[in-house]
Amino acid sequence: MTALIQAALDAVYLGSLFALYALGVAMIFGIMRLINFAHASLITVGAYAMAVTANLPLVLRILVTVAVCVLLALLLEFVAFRGLRGADPATLLVTSFAVSVLLTALCEATFGSLPKASPLDDWFQLSWVFGSVYVPTLNGVTIIVTALLLIGLSLFLAKTRWGTHMRAAAEDFTTARMLGVRANRVIMLAFAISGVLAAVAAILLVGTTGTVTPIFGLAPVLYGLIAAVVGGLSSLRGAVLGGFALGITSQLLQSFLPGDLRPFRDAFLFAAVFLLLVVRPQGLISPKQGERI
């Protein structure tokens, strides 16, 4: 029983992280039909912001990191993507690759290619103990922070004026504009939110790794992208669902695969993804059946 609860908590932890990554990708895709690979760079730069501010109090580090990621996201939108509105998806994807490669090179030039220490406070390394179940503080914090972000984001989208504008733009951008929704404003808002999501992912992730390299954000965004596709790329709910599905499956394989098969965990995971997409190419949630967001 204890082992089961332990495995479940670990699974939810991984699922939360994947959901954060997936949501960052889906946020931009929903509005702009852009698969934003440069989201990886946002996460990387966020982690470097944590490294550079390592001597400051945690609250300040978090604020700086969020600010840096949001500003960088807005800058990318303005410099790289604004001129490409309405371009075909391939052009957008290639541009986001180019931006990502450029920023990786910039990080390498600035900070070198060796891992740079970016530690979180020691408090995060402790564990919460419930009877015989151990929850590392970082895992608990990750789950709680993700849950709060998801709740906050859904309330924002459902209840506020700007949230309605975003939902409208995600469903039909042209119609939303004709009704007076300003294209620049909703797109900038989507990028800003993706910046916040990248910052939070970076902060939580440096908690486990303790260091950052120029390709820090790459793996998370790959997983995030896969999770978003699994869930149904153009629905935010789908992205979250896909994130949890991928994280939980991955952790369950880790816990319950026989020892000699464990090194092949990701092979099993992606075989499952492959199978799912053969059966349901549109992902778990398809916009035609329900709402997009």
Partner: protein
């Protein structure tokens, strides 16, 4: 025709192209305050393209579009609606994941005064009672006729001076079509100016003050319904059974 007032909308020599295909070539038309102006013509004549250019969805390749004497060509759709022009597109384009009320409020995005927006919302609900009944339902569940009412009501929420309607009767049952045309007449009585594109040519021309007949990207004839000829003559013209006459 004596032009005593400056036209509300004045389109001169409009040319619009999709890539290499020129869909509208040198179209001129105008709408006076308080008029219903019909634009009719066969499939592919360029009616939708013309309206799209006026609403800012397409950038004209040539010509001018003036509203209240001010040039608006090349403006973004979100700015055109702020000037007082609302377009109900062909196919209605209801946002199905939003509720009826959210769709309507979205139509008032450009209006800052919440109190006035509330009042507009109540006006739409009394004009289209079915929308009041369904206000908190997802708009995807509405029937075609209800969606058309929602599309018109949503456009009215921006409190426009000029309403552009693109085939509002398309795909609706005859009884519902009657309702749509009654609504259009009622709106004009409230002082709204209307530019109406219709496949249902005879009927649209009959209810209009003036009409334009389009064929393959050009205006082939224009004038009052009487001048264009009633009923059958009109239909023949619009089906292209008579040789084209330049206006």
């Amino acid at each position: 025709m004596t032009e005593t007032t400056r036209p509300l909308l004045d389109v001169q020599d409009l040319t619009v192209a999709y890539g290499t295909l020129t869909a509208v070539r040198g179209v001129s038309l105008y709408v006076q305050p308080g008029e219903i102006v019909a634009v009719v013509g066969p499939n592919g004549a360029g009616k939708t393209t013309t309206l799209s250019a006026v609403a800012g969805l397409l950038r004209p390749r040539g010509g001018t579009i003036a509203f209240h004497g001010r040039s608006i060509d090349g403006e973004k759709p979100e700015d055109v609606v702020r000037r007082g022009i609302a377009l109900v597109r062909e196919g209605r384009h209801i946002l199905t994941s939003l509720t009826v009320e959210e769709n309507l409020l979205l139509g008032a995005t450009c209006r800052p005064d919440r109190e006035q927006v509330r009042r507009s919302l109540d006006e739409q609900f009394s004009r289209f009672p079915i929308l009041a009944e369904r206000r908190s339902q997802h708009a995807g569940y509405l029937s075609g006729g209800e969606q058309q009412q929602l599309a018109i009501a949503r456009a009215l929420m921006s409190s426009p001076q000029l309403l552009l309607l693109d085939e509002p009767s398309l795909g609706l049952a005859p009884r519902i079509v009657d309702g749509v045309f009654e609504t259009i007449v009622a709106l004009r009585e409230d002082g709204l100016s209307i530019l109406l594109v219709e496949q249902n040519a005879t009927r649209a021309v009959e209810m209009s003050d003036r009409a334009y007949v389009m064929g393959t990207g050009r205006v082939t004839r224009s004038g009052t319904p009487e001048a264009l000829g009633e009923g059958g003559g009109m239909a023949a013209e619009y089906l292209g059974l008579e040789p084209e006459v330049t206006p």
